[in-house]
């Protein structure tokens, strides 16, 4: 029997018009999100603090964080598809919550707090690159220099120079650097995974003792000595099977140090043509997050198998305790970098150095993200005339956004010097994640009320038809994300385990109170000055009536 099939009918006709482009590759956007939740730099560094909650189940906490951050990803991807704007959080909050709230929340998170991230990046560069590389090559003097205040400050200068260079190079150059670092860095990771996978626990113990003696002059059984050093500080007998529900939840704020950032690039989507396509934006962020979660799970299981769970916690505890006033020295005096440990499984210092150098590409592919989002937020605020016009200035020849770069680099230098030379100031840096979480909280609240606050824009968006039990999906995911973020903000503020509790140290509270007051002051001054110039900042976001 013959059958006929009707050709699908054309659902629209297009004509020649500017801007009709084909779909962009999700891979590049994925790369940006993947670098933002950096498994090696932020991930390994952040997880070195989880020894403080030994009863928490780390793998379970990683998976739970992945699930909760997915709601954040869904919320942000929806916001991008409704309003793709350069400046992301600033643009959404100012247009939904109001210009003043948007400015204060976004500028404190994306401008003032990013100054604090310069020394954090620099410290990671020291712990994962300069120090282990120098120790491995036998340059002990260089290694100890980089852990000194001068060394930390020099590392801050290197980070600032590199980041400025990347921004000067532009996104095209940076995208190429990211790709290069991604493929080589992944190669390094595969080698590291292979070494941990195909080596036994006994081989690791033996290798650790060998290199601890060779590179750090440790005598005897350094492996056991490390466990004993941690036990003196109160960390002992940690097993992978430990599971306390509350303790596992309390690991989430530690893991947020890296897993909270797949939405980091959302500030750039105003420049991306076709960003209104929800699925592509979501895919880039989602896979950036979940590929990292999967890789973390692999690393955790390999540490369990080859390194030993108790030892991993002990090594971190011994190192961080040794930095406390009066803390006992650890047998291996450098940060317990899992990459370095994996390299020790091959008894060749040149190979070990090469592995550390290649894994250093995880830093250099990622470091450019430090100020990129900040520049976009500063641009958006300058276009709104809340900040002076020169803040959005770009040099004619090299296209360098020198206005916003000055606003980032000069304060970062001051903050870096404080970090390097004033030890009591360092507690403030622990709050660097919390303040950005506050900014995100503002955004997800804005997202949750979007269908009512900007009903017209919402109704006209591709997400308007998505509902759960009659409630807009953006409201549901926004509320879940808000609860998650609020939980962490409360914990950071009150729980002493993170070192950020206001109850034990009021310095961070004072510091951040000042930054919020400065942001409020800038906005109020801008309103007054602009009014005198005949400009009403309130009308920036007012919607013109349609009828």
């Amino acid at each position: 029997m013959a059958t006929t099939t009707e050709a699908p009918r054309q659902t629209l006709f297009l004509r020649n018009a500017t801007g009709l482009v084909k779909a962009w590759s999700t891979f590049d956007a994925f790369l940006y999100a993947f670098w933002s939740v950096n498994l090696v730099t932020l991930g390994l560094y952040g997880m070195s603090f989880v020894y403080a909650i030994p009863d928490g189940q780390l793998l379970g906490a990683v998976l739970l964080t992945g699930v909760l951050v997915t709601f954040l990803v869904i919320t942000y991807a929806q916001l991008v598809s409704v309003m793709p704007r350069a400046g992301g959080d600033y643009a959404w909050q100012s247009r939904i919550l109001g210009g003043g709230i948007g400015f204060v929340l976004a500028i404190t998170g994306w401008w003032f707090t990013l100054w604090l991230w310069t020394p954090i990046y620099a410290n990671i560069l020291v712990l994962q690159f300069f120090a282990p590389l120098a120790y491995t090559l036998g340059w002990t003097g260089a290694a100890t220099f980089f852990t000194s205040p001068n060394g930390i400050f020099v590392s801050c200068l290197i980070v600032l120079a590199f980041v400025s260079g990347v921004i000067t190079l532009g996104m095209e150059g940076y995208a190429k650097i990211q790709r290069f670092c991604f493929w080589l860095g992944m190669g390094g990771l595969i080698v590291m995974v292979g070494l941990l996978l195909f080596s036994t626990h006994d081989a690791f113990v033996s290798a650790f003792n060998r290199e601890a003696a060779s590179l750090f002059g440790a005598s005897g059984n350094a492996y056991q000595a490390t466990i004993a050093a941690a036990a003196k500080g109160g960390t002992s007998g940690v097993t992978f099977g430990n599971f306390g529900f509350t303790s596992t939840l309390l690991l989430l704020p530690f893991l947020a140090f890296y897993l909270l950032w797949p939405v980091w690039g959302a500030t750039l989507y105003g420049e991306v043509r076709g960003a209104k396509e929800y699925r592509k934006v979501f895919s880039a962020m989602f896979w950036g997050l979940w590929v990292t979660v999967a890789l973390v799970a692999v690393i955790i299981l390999l540490i369990l198998k080859t390194v030993g769970w108790d030892f991993y916690y002990a090594a971190n505890a011994a190192y961080w305790n040794s930095l406390l006033p009066g803390g006992a020295a650890a047998p291996v005096s450098t940060w317990p970098y899992p990459v370095m440990f994996a390299g020790w499984l091959v008894g060749n210092h040149l190979f070990q150095a090469l592995l550390i150098a290649v894994m250093g590409l995880w830093f250099f592919g990622w470091a450019g993200t430090l100020f990129l989002s900040s520049t976009r937020v500063i641009f958006a605020a300058a276009f709104d005339r809340v900040l002076p016009e020169w803040a959005a200035n770009i040099s004619a020849k090299r296209r360098v956004p020198y206005g916003s770069l000055i606003l980032m680099i000069v304060p970062s230098l001051v903050v870096s010097a404080l970090f390097a030379y004033r030890a009591n100031f360092q507690v403030i840096f622990l709050d660097a994640t919390a303040v950005i979480a506050v900014t995100f909280l503002g955004t997800v609240i804005a997202a949750a009320i979007l269908p009512w606050r900007r009903a017209d824009i919402y109704r006209n968006s591709p997400i308007a038809r998505w509902r759960v039990a009659g409630i807009p999906v953006i409201t549901v995911t926004g509320v879940i994300s808000a609860i998650f973020l609020a939980f962490m903000i409360v914990e950071w503020s009150l729980n002493t385990v993170y070192g950020t509790a206001f109850t034990t140290n009021v310095l961070p509270l004072q510091y951040f109170a000042v930054t919020y007051l400065v942001a409020i002051a800038i906005y109020v001054v801008a309103r007054v000055v602009r009014k005198r110039q005949g400009i009403d900042l309130a009308r920036i976001h007012q919607e013109i009536p349609v009828e």
């Binding site: 009918r9 629209l12 297009l14 020649n16 959005a392 824009i457």
Partner: protein, 310 residues
């Protein structure tokens, strides 16, 4: 004098209505629409017995006769042209690009004509002057429609005195990968500008209203594309795509103000010597009217400016 400038409405009826209402909302004396008024797509609303079927933003829907006007309004909001037709007519159009083009022109002119009537109704008791200059995406046929409108002045290709300020306008752009309707090589763009530039008596009080932004500024950065029109590096890599002829004209003549559009992502301002160049960007698909308000002062020229999201 307060000037309200918006551009790249691309057929969005909501944006056009907001544009007309901006005069009262912002107390503006002059409204300028910078070009690319017309839509990029036609949506067939296919008759099927007592109901109609259409696909909008990838979602197919079937509506009754009483709901057709509402969905047509939804389509217009997005800047598309809703056209009621039968399945047979759709099939006929699929086979014949010339017929599609004719229908597009018809829809465009009909819509612009309706917009002009709207301007007449909304602004009949107002002293506000309204200028429209087409852009590279606008077909030539709409010029006559605008020229015949009683309440709107066609700005294309001439010098106009606006309360003592001289404005010259052109919607022609340097070549794009899409081969649109008003494109020309840079040399020809420069030749088109020459007679208008000669008409200007005082550059310190002049306004350039050129659709493409000046090359090499922050106003002309668009996503870099490969040869298949696919954005490179996730759409994040930007390249300058503005006009060198426009750039040269600004650099040489230094007008008080230069108004641009064309690159929706290029929202911002650029100081080019004595010239303030503005591209307010465009978010027409959201029904949001990105625009700029510029205060002109007889002594100081541009007194201040503001980019707004109306």
């Amino acid at each position: 004098m307060r000037v309200f400038y918006a551009t790249d409405l691309h057929g969005s009826e909501v944006c056009w209505r907001k544009f007309l209402n901006a005069a009262k909302f912002y107390n503006a004396d002059v409204l300028i629409c910078g070009g690319d008024m017309t839509g990029k797509a036609m949506i067939p609303i296919v008759e099927d017995g007592d109901s109609y079927e259409l696909t909008l933003s990838g979602v197919s829907q079937r509506v009754g006769r009483d709901q057709v006007a509402e969905v047509e309004s939804q389509v217009q909001r997005k800047g598309y042209y809703p056209v009621r037709m039968t399945s047979a007519q759709v099939a006929e159009l699929e086979k014949d690009p010339a017929k599609v083009q004719t229908l597009f022109t018809e829809q465009m002119c009909k819509t612009v004509e309706r917009w002009m009537q709207m301007a007449q109704e909304k602004l009949k008791d107002s002293k506000v002057r309204v200028f429209v200059a087409p852009g590279n995406d606008d077909e030539m046929e709409i010029d006559d429609v605008i020229a015949n409108a009683p309440r709107v002045e066609l700005a294309e290709g001439r010098m106009i005195d606006i309360g003592g300020y001289e404005m010259i306008s052109s919607g022609w752009a340097n070549p794009t990968p899409w081969h649109t309707y008003r494109e020309a090589p840079e040399e020809e763009l420069a030749r088109r500008m020459e007679p208008m530039l000669r008409d200007i008596k005082e550059m310190s009080r002049a306004i350039f209203n050129f659709h493409p932004p000046p090359y090499g500024t922050s106003l002309d950065e668009a996503p870099a594309l490969d040869e298949n029109l696919k954005p490179l590096h996730g759409g994040r890599v930007l390249r300058h795509v503005g006009s060198t002829a426009v750039r040269d004209a600004i650099d040489k003549y230094q007008p008080m103000l230069s108004l641009h559009g064309h690159i929706h992502e290029g929202k911002g301002i650029a100081r080019m010597g004595k010239t303030l160049a503005i591209n307010p960007g465009s978010a027409y698909e959201e029904g949001m009217l990105l625009a700029s308000i510029i205060e002109l002062d007889q002594k100081r020229g541009v007194k201040n400016y503001q980019l707004v999201n109306g």
